[in-house]
């Protein structure tokens, strides 16, 4: 039996790319208490324990199978001023946008102001 993939350290958030747009999206709990996607990294649901991480992993698997997102994976974060910030520089760029173009990506409000929840 293949070993289960090692989970990233917690706390963690779930991110993915929207299938149609390619835009980076984050798992969030919607108004009905269901898992959904948001384009705003500040709203990303933070999993701090194993059951919460398992719930995000199950959501990722269902959403990948449902053809709503691609490339979904957990990212370990630190809490900075109440918001989750990826610890690794790669994922920080992914949640911000190109560092040479502050006018593009999440750092420019890309996809956030247009509607915070997918």
């Amino acid at each position: 039996m293949a070993a289960a993939p090692k989970r990233v350290p917690l706390p963690a958030i779930l991110l993915a790319n929207d299938l149609l747009d390619g835009d980076v999206v984050f798992a969030v709990t919607d108004a009905n208490g269901q898992l959904a996607w948001t384009r705003d990294p500040a709203l990303a649901l933070v999993a701090s324990d194993d059951p919460a991480a398992e719930s995000l992993e199950a959501f990722a698997a269902a959403e990948l199978a449902g053809n709503r997102v691609v490339d979904a994976y957990l990212v370990d974060v630190a809490m900075e001023t109440g918001q989750p910030v990826p610890r690794h520089f790669r994922e920080r760029f992914k949640t911000l946008g190109p560092s040479n173009r502050p006018d593009l990506g999440k750092q420019a409000g890309d996809g956030i102001s247009a509607g915070q929840r997918v």
Binding site: G22, F93, S99
Partner: protein
Amino acid sequence: MYRYDEFDERFVRERVAQFRDQVARRLDGSITEDEFKPLRLKNGVYLQLHAYMLRIAIPYGTLSSKQLRQLALIGERYDRGYGHFTTRQNLQFNWPKLRDVPEILDLLADVEMHCIQTSGNCIRNVTADHFAGVAQDEIEDPRPTAELIRQWSSLHPEFDYLPRKFKIAVTGAEHDRAVIKAHDIGLRLRRHPDTHEVSYEVSVGGGLGRTPMIGKVVRDYLPKNDLLAFLEAIMRVYNLEGRRDNKYKARVKILVHEIGVEEFRRRVEEEFARLDGPSVNADPAEVARIADYFKTPDYEVLPATSRVLEATKAANPAFARWIEVNTIPHKAPGYAALTISLKPVGEAPGDATSDQMRLVADLAEQYSQAEIRVTHAQNLVLPYVRQRDLFAIWQRLGEAGLASANIGLITDIISCPGLDYCALATARSIPIAQAIQHRFADDNRQKAIGELNIKISGCINACGHHHVGHIGILGLEKRGIESYQITLGGDATENAAIGEILGPGLAAEDVPDAIERIVNVYLSERAEGESFIENVRRIGLAPFKAAFQEVAHAVA
């Protein structure tokens, strides 16, 4: 320029319809991402860090004004108003939506363009000298050869699932501006010393990436008529013998290295002898038909030197400097081939806005037979400019921020997109290029340093050609931070060489200091008229290593 015939047109349109259907099936759940991924890659669609990326083929780097205008339109309508010209003479859009890609492919087909074979384990877009047809040192225009290979290799059923991607470059000149020795196959048109017939020198097994190698010559003088049969023989040996169990050892360079060039050559010659050459090689009438599309344009009869140009140069030193740096001597008297720098200080190397693309398209239409070339160094070329028109072009480029006089100089940096865009990258490239550009922004300083090629890659895959940079910079991840390894002595020309590592990796903020110290060693040690790379070859790496170590120790 080559123009599509009925077959080309139908072939591209059918491919667009196929992809439209494939996208629809992906969206309705008929096919999974695992099934869809190879299909989208075969149409140039990647998933990058922030969005999808679409890679568009520009065969041998030749574009018409109409095509460049269409790219500008696509950039504006479906992307963020800009595109990125790459080291493989392609154009990449960084933000297209998957749902829009079929529309984009339709717009490309309208101007005889597509994304076929810009990805996948097939023969990729064929590249060539960007001064093809106009350079004074040229023996023969390489573009008919590149076009012939494009037609032969497009959807070639036998070579559509190779062990790995396969890149071919062609040059027809003495001076290699197509980096042929860093390609899987490099072709150089040359005259046979006895018969004086134009033939091909064929190199195989060059490539960069994690195992950089310089291509080895397997044929000194291949008769032109035998080209396709000889290429077929090479591809068959590779297709049969290339490793498929390990993608990192699957390129033809590994095969050539493992069995040795002599054995590789023997196998190719054996296969070549076995092939029915006449059934594989192109019909001479077809070769002539293709060559006809690249025949010399109708040049005006002009004096070798324009008096208008000389007068404007005398009155305007900045213009004179731009002419000196950004133009090359032309085959036709009174003409120049002009390189437009896409490396203004502080901008991402190779990026052009839709407005800039439109301006270049207009200038090409007005002054350069409506033709543009894309260079492997991520710049654009107007190949057929009357010298007397250069001043007007310079003024209009200046208004658009495109008049940097830095071709071949220290700020003309090749840089891959790096971790600012690319999902494979391990560190950023563009901010490093920008920091170095700012450090050496002064025109007089750049001129004093002279020719110096810096090339930056954001990962081991080496899309930024760092191995063959006079100074190469490789971005890696080290203990959770970006780290930059510096190499010295690489060369992308006919004297192709792989650079050597100077020392331990540096933090991003220390890279400009390290480059400055390396340059200062050159400035203090150089002999009269000696270029940077000549100096490195003469004095060796030791003085440069010592200067580099001062930076490395200071920040350790």
